[in-house]
């Protein structure tokens, strides 16, 4: 229920003052997710795959990861979508390690790295902070995830 903690903290006047927030007196409480926006969301692209192709061609470093206990946008959804990019494989599927534990599995394609994060849900850094940190550090360094 951790998002309840944020609902308490960020609605405190002293916190808003310290953050220079809510300076115009927004006529509603701060909340983690806006019902109005999600219910009235207009344009939404059906697929991001064409954009991925364009940005891969532009040479950006692109990593996609999946916490493997999420059922809302689960690992099989992402894998099935990415598979339709038909990217050539650079480094074949292998388990990556966090300490002496399997942190997940990964495969490196031309232009994109995919990785799962074991026992992590939708918010990967919330449930597996150390594995998420290793993932991020490898991404920043442009290095493949540790093989041992």
């Amino acid at each position: 229920c951790t998002e309840n903690y944020a609902e308490k903290y960020y609605n405190r006047p002293d916190v808003q003052k310290a953050l220079h927030a809510n300076v115009t007196g927004i006529p509603y409480k701060w909340t983690a997710c806006s019902d109005v926006l999600i219910k009235n969301w207009k344009d939404s692209e059906d697929s991001m795959l064409p954009t991925y192709k364009e940005l891969i061609a532009a040479g950006l470093r692109i990593w996609v990861f999946s916490g493997d206990t999420d059922s809302v946008v689960p690992v099989t959804a992402t894998r099935f979508s990415l598979s339709h990019l038909n990217l050539p494989i650079k480094t074949k599927w292998y388990p990556w390690y966090s300490g002496n534990q399997v942190g997940g599995w990964t495969e490196v394609y031309e232009g994109l790295t995919f990785a799962t994060v074991r026992s992590a849900g939708h918010e990967v850094p919330l449930l597996q902070p150390q594995r998420a940190f290793i993932l991020f550090r490898s991404f920043l360094a442009g290095k493949e995830l540790p093989k041992s």
């Binding site: 951790t2 944020a6 609902e7 903290y9 405190r12 916190v15 808003q16 310290a18 953050l19 220079h20 927030a21 300076v23 115009t24 927004i26 909340t31 997710c33 806006s34 109005v36 999600i38 009235n40 969301w41 207009k42 344009d43 939404s44 059906d46 697929s47 991001m48 795959l49 954009t51 364009e54 940005l55 470093r61 990593w63 996609v64 990861f65 999946s66 206990t69 999420d70 059922s71 809302v72 946008v73 959804a77 992402t78 099935f80 990415l82 598979s83 994060v117 992590a120 939708h122 918010e123 990967v124 850094p125 919330l126 902070p129 150390q130 998420a132 940190f133 993932l135 991020f136 920043l140």
Partner: protein, 262 residues
């Protein structure tokens, strides 16, 4: 830069002492409608001038990067149960980068619009456009981050926001020989990617992780075609709703081995 000083956060209530700097405040992205986006920058805990800049976006759409990214995931602070104080996140990503949390689009968290109809017709396009304008103006306020290695990260519906913003930055940069927004790449987690394939993969996960019965799985495959155009048939909706309401049980769908939050 004068505004930069005004945005400096001396300390948050209940915060432990830290060595890194923090800044937060508003950047106007549309004067006519009065749209302004709220940001919170927590600089790297060591040698911030040598570290890259990372923009973090949560999804929803409509959810706050301050609520999730900053306070539950990658930020340096965690909020305690009563909301009275903060404690340090041992695996904060600000060990490796300067973290910029943006509440986007207007209407999310502290970000606001003075034109209430904006809240009823927001979408991918305007969100990406406003985020690009935010970045350009934010860089003018924080010129020390111009040309710095820049990455974008996010999760969930930010599987749309992140590549869409990356694409706009890439196109914007084409006009400059040395772009100030030095975009190097992006990383996304549990990202909404393709409606058709995501949906098929989602139902597969439900079945392979024993969240639904064979009977339900078969009826979903029979009645749902998952292509956005036609929308879902009543029988498809019925089968999916039966799965969620009668077979999932009282779980946290975002972390299926976790009990639901009461």
């Amino acid at each position: 830069p004068k505004q930069q000083l005004l945005d400096k956060v001396s300390a948050l209530p209940g915060q432990p002492p830290v060595r890194f700097s923090q800044f937060s405040g508003y950047v106007t992205v549309n004067e006519k409608h009065g749209r302004a986006l709220f940001y919170w920058l927590t600089e790297a805990s060591d040698l911030p001038h040598n570290k890259p800049l990372l923009l973090w976006l949560n999804g929803g759409p409509g959810c706050s990067s301050v609520a999730y990214g900053a306070s539950e995931e990658i930020g340096p602070f965690r909020i305690n149960r009563t909301g009275s104080s903060l404690y340090l996140n041992k695996y904060s990503w600000n060990a490796e980068a300067n973290l910029l949390f943006l509440e986007s689009p207007a209407g999310v968290g502290f970000s606001y619009t003075n034109t209430s109809s904006d809240l009823k017709d927001t979408g991918d396009n305007r969100t990406a456009e406003d985020a690009l304008i935010f970045l350009i103006r934010w860089m003018a306020r924080f010129p020390q981050y111009k040309y710095r290695d820049f990455y974008i990260a996010g999760e969930s519906y930010a599987g749309h926001y992140v590549p869409q913003l990356a694409k706009r930055i890439h196109n914007y940069n084409k006009a400059y020989s040395r772009p100030i927004i030095n975009l190097k790449g992006f990383i996304v987690g549990n990202a909404v990617t393709d409606n058709h394939y995501d949906n098929i993969g989602t139902v597969t996960f439900w079945w392979t992780h024993a969240m639904i019965s064979d009977r339900t799985y078969k009826s979903i495959l029979k009645y749902c075609n998952f292509s956005e155009e036609e929308g879902q048939s009543d029988k498809c909706d019925e089968a999916v709703n039966y799965a969620i309401n009668n077979e999932f049980g009282d779980i946290d769908q975002y972390s299926i081995y976790t009990a639901a939050c009461k």
